[in-house]
């Protein structure tokens, strides 16, 4: 008897959602405003970038336009070599992250491994560490000359050899893998938890063994999740800048973003035309991948709506093997999660690098924390980071919620175009988006250049897709009957959205806000171009401290930032849980 092939149930087309908006109703005006704001947010810097890419130079007359930048960049064989290195780098850490994240996700979501319920929140701890700080931590560990791991190896082995030189393509891939593993795990674990176990049970009842069930049921079901996570990580890899800047440049390993940075930061005057020409190259890959990613996610979410009855994931009982899976998790977590944090704490409490390297405990103190908190610039950067994380995240999630409403609850023609528009920054390298924002807003009628507002606009533009993702998922899972019942009872569309949709979508709203807050805290590529005295943020300060060898202050500021991020996450989780409890009680 052949086994039933498991295929994702064909999602019935979601009925045209929502009612028609009456012309000039408040709801219609608000929808139009949201769409206009989104279009402006995305297209204004893009337009400035496009225009800048055709200028002869920064100091040429504004109407002197040329294709020279494109010709120079695309006719240079070195461009394609760098593009190739970028793809190898992005593919390398993406594949490594998937290979490790998938078994971890399976362990957490589908087995009886001890402590599995704690794995999801434990994995979040390294996730909140900014990529620039991750890079610094691994440099402190794996620098060939003075890295703690290499120094320990030399001390134990008695040889002069280096165990691992982090300043290499392999080093870049390793550091990026440790950064990518937490989000890869989280997304895959979510996908595994959502899988309907009845299909597996049907296979088991039909006589399939574990391997057959895996091959013919589980893999087809998990494939969309795997592909979407792979796509997400690969796109992020194409536009990554932190790790290539900290780890790659000292080894003269160039990727596309480091070339963009080079044209903007190492030429006098800068060459934004060539930077833009370089920056548009990864879009050849990133845009179709982004379109594919958006389509896969929307398909997945509609699938979840169709089969949205409650269930518990099927747990596999491993017997004594569960201790092996626990050991696997603990080893991975110790290396990827604990080690960087330990070295950052060490950098924070030891007065200098020499004391850290020799682990001279008698020299440990809180002096670096005092230095950081006493410095007005550091304090201001910390404050700005908090404001941008919490406040900026809130503004972005509100915009995302409104946009998601338009996309999922209305029949406005062309709304798909705006979804596509909102996702464009997702595929654009952040550093290039920063260039567009710099040139676009420096002459803006409202004077926001050099202020925290400009950074807020930059973050909202870049991370709107992330917010859109979570709010759309939340709204798609709420049946429209509830909203229609409110409107039938006399509520306006806005009232129905506020009183019915928002409370039900609160969980997704808070989850989205916390994701955005973390991304805003971590952001570096745009911040380094857009900050000015008064609008410094923590990530820029890390770079400046690294430039000046102030390792202790990096550690101290890093520990404070990690603590703050975890507090934000815990608070968001409490809010989400409290909201859910109130709904149950109410």
């Amino acid at each position: 008897m052949s086994l039933p092939e498991a295929t994702p149930a064909r999602a019935a087309p979601v009925p045209a959602v929502g009612l028609r908006l009456r012309r000039l109703s408040p709801a219609a005006v608000l929808c139009a405003l949201l769409l206009a704001v989104t279009a402006c947010l995305v297209l204004y810097p893009l337009a400035n970038l496009l225009y800048g890419s055709f200028r002869v130079s920064l100091i040429s007359p504004p109407t002197a336009l040329t294709l020279d930048s494109y010709v120079r960049v695309y006719s240079d064989p070195r461009t394609y070599f760098i593009f190739g290195v970028t793809i190898v780098y992005a593919l390398g850490f993406t594949v490594l992250a998937m290979v490790v994240a998938l078994p971890l996700a399976w362990i957490a979501a589908r087995t009886d491994t001890p402590l599995r319920k704690h794995i999801p929140w434990l994995v979040l701890i390294p996730y909140v560490i900014p990529a620039s700080l991750h890079s610094v931590a691994w440099l402190l560990l794996l620098d060939p000359g003075s890295g703690l791991v290499n120094a320990a190896y030399r001390a134990f082995s008695g040889s002069d050899a280096t165990l691992f030189n982090v300043y290499s393509l392999a080093g870049m891939i390793w550091v990026s893998f440790t950064i990518a593993l937490p989000p890869a795990f989280t997304l895959l674990a979510t996908g595994l938890e959502r899988m309907d176990p009845t299909l597996e049970e049907a296979a088991s009842v039909s006589g399939a063994n574990g391997l057959q069930t895996l091959r013919r049921v589980l893999v087809p079901l998990i494939l969309p999740s795997l592909l979407s996570v792979f796509t997400l990580l690969f796109i992020v890899g194409l536009e990554a800048f932190d790790v290539p800047a900290f780890v790659g440049l000292p080894a003269n390993i160039r990727v596309l973003t480091s070339e963009i940075y080079y044209f903007m930061s190492q030429n006098v005057p800068a060459q934004p035309g060539r930077a833009a020409a370089f920056g548009f190259l990864p879009l050849l890959l990133a845009v179709p991948l982004t379109v594919y990613y958006v389509r896969v996610i929307v398909h997945q979410e509609r699938f979840a709506v169709i089969t949205g009855k409650a269930w518990a994931p099927r747990v596999v009982h491993l017997g004594p093997f569960r201790w092996v899976t626990l050991a696997f998790f603990l080893v991975v977590y110790a290396i990827v999660g604990v080690l960087p944090i330990v070295v950052l704490v060490g950098a924070a409490i030891f007065p200098d690098y020499k004391a850290l390297a020799s682990l001279n405990l008698s020299a440990a103190s809180l002096k670096n924390f005092a230095l950081v908190l006493d410095d007005p610039v550091t304090f201001r950067a910390f404050r700005n980071s908090i404001v941008l994380a919490a406040g900026g995240g809130l503004v972005t999630i509100l915009l995302a919620f409104g946009l998601s409403y338009v996309l999922t609850r209305t029949r406005i023609k062309g709304r798909a175009l705006f979804e596509f528009l909102a996702f464009i920054p997702f595929s654009l390298p952040s550093i290039l988006l920063g260039v567009g924002i710099l040139f676009g807003y420096v002459a803006f009628p409202i004077d926001i250049y050099g202020t925290v507002w400009l950074l807020g606009i930059a973050y909202t533009t870049k991370y709107l897709p992330y917010g859109l993702r979570t709010t759309s998922a939340a709204l798609l899972q709420i049946h429209r009957d509830l909203e229609e019942a409110a409107t039938v009872a006399g509520a306006s569309r806005l009232r129905a959205a506020r009183s019915v949709l928002l409370p039900l979508a609160l969980s997704g709203f808070v989850a989205g806000w916390s994701i955005l807050a973390i991304h805003n805290l971590r952001e570096f590529s745009m911040s380094i171009l857009l900050y000015a005295p008064g609008s410094e943020v923590a990530s820029v300060l890390f770079f400046s401290y690294w430039e000046h060898g102030r390792i202790g202050e990096i550690g101290a500021l890093g520990v404070l930032l990690i603590g703050l991020s975890l507090a934000l996450l815990l608070g968001a989780n409490r809010l989400r849980t409290a909201g859910a409890m109130r709904r149950l009680e109410g």
């Binding site: 297209l43 440049l249 930061s265 006098v268």
Partner: protein, 361 residues
Amino acid sequence: MSWKTNARMVLAVLVLAALLSGAACSSASSAASKPQAGAAAPAAGAGGALFDPEKAKAEGTTVGIGTFLDSQVAALRQGFEAKYGVRIEFSHPTSSETVTRLLAEASSGRMRNDWVIVSDDGMKVLNEQGLLDPLPQEILDRYPEKWRGPDGAWIVYELYAWGILYNNKLVSPDAAPKNLDDLASPQWKGKLALVDPRQALSALAWAKGWYETMGDAETDDLLRRFAANDPRYFDSPSRLASGMVQQQFAVGTGNLTHELSVGGAGGDLTAVAIQPTYANLGAFALLKNRPHPQAGLALADYLNSPEFLRNDAALGYPVTQTQIPRVVKALQGVDIVPMPTFADQDEQNKWREKVRADLDR
């Protein structure tokens, strides 16, 4: 959604972007042709003094941008803020970013900075675009003629002399390299750091100086030997110096003033001057249409005073006011010559390709 629909969406976005580009272009054109609004040339202070201290204090803040290190900013703040009651705000991007930002601010008609510290290459670009406000004669007179920019647009107040640095805890003075040829020796393989001429404009200018001094064949050979030693590359001399303090490598090239300004007095870094000793020129200028006219003048007066420059020299920087002695031992009595410059970006790119041919492996 079909591929046709996707393609239509992409086309629609491109059309919208092109329309907005046109809007951006016309906006930039009108900004460029707009007469520069802002403060008129500031009146001198009472009794013909350089600036009015009361007005400067009322302005409250002065904003600068450029390539000062943290230690220099701290020294400036310590003296200036206490003396005049005016706060200093300073951002320190790279030279290129400094010039880019100032050009962008000028094109918007809203200058946010009062003064700038950048190399003479950057000053030339800013001056050509009409961004610099000539310094008062009283300040110019503190310096020999050769350190003044055209029409007093800027002054060179300090020099960034380049040479060899080594970590004296890892390398003894006898074993330390004495010249570039020593530095390229295979014994330094894996222990060498270089400021990368492919990335850093100053290092590229220095390499140009080697070509002019030693000739093509010898310089090409030197660069290939450096590359064969698997050096760590840096785009910033200060980051190189910081890494050397942390014992990430033992020897390298860089800014000799970092012996003190990064390594600290009696610290782990030792500078070795080589012949000829080339230097970047650290220049200061006031900006036109600055938001704090009097505070900017006050800062210009203080920064170019012997009081501040002695503190700056104590950090290791050779200053161009000749009555203030050099502190870094390797630079005492050494004849420092300005680094070669580049006529334009095309020349920069040409030299970059030349060194890349030797360094890329």
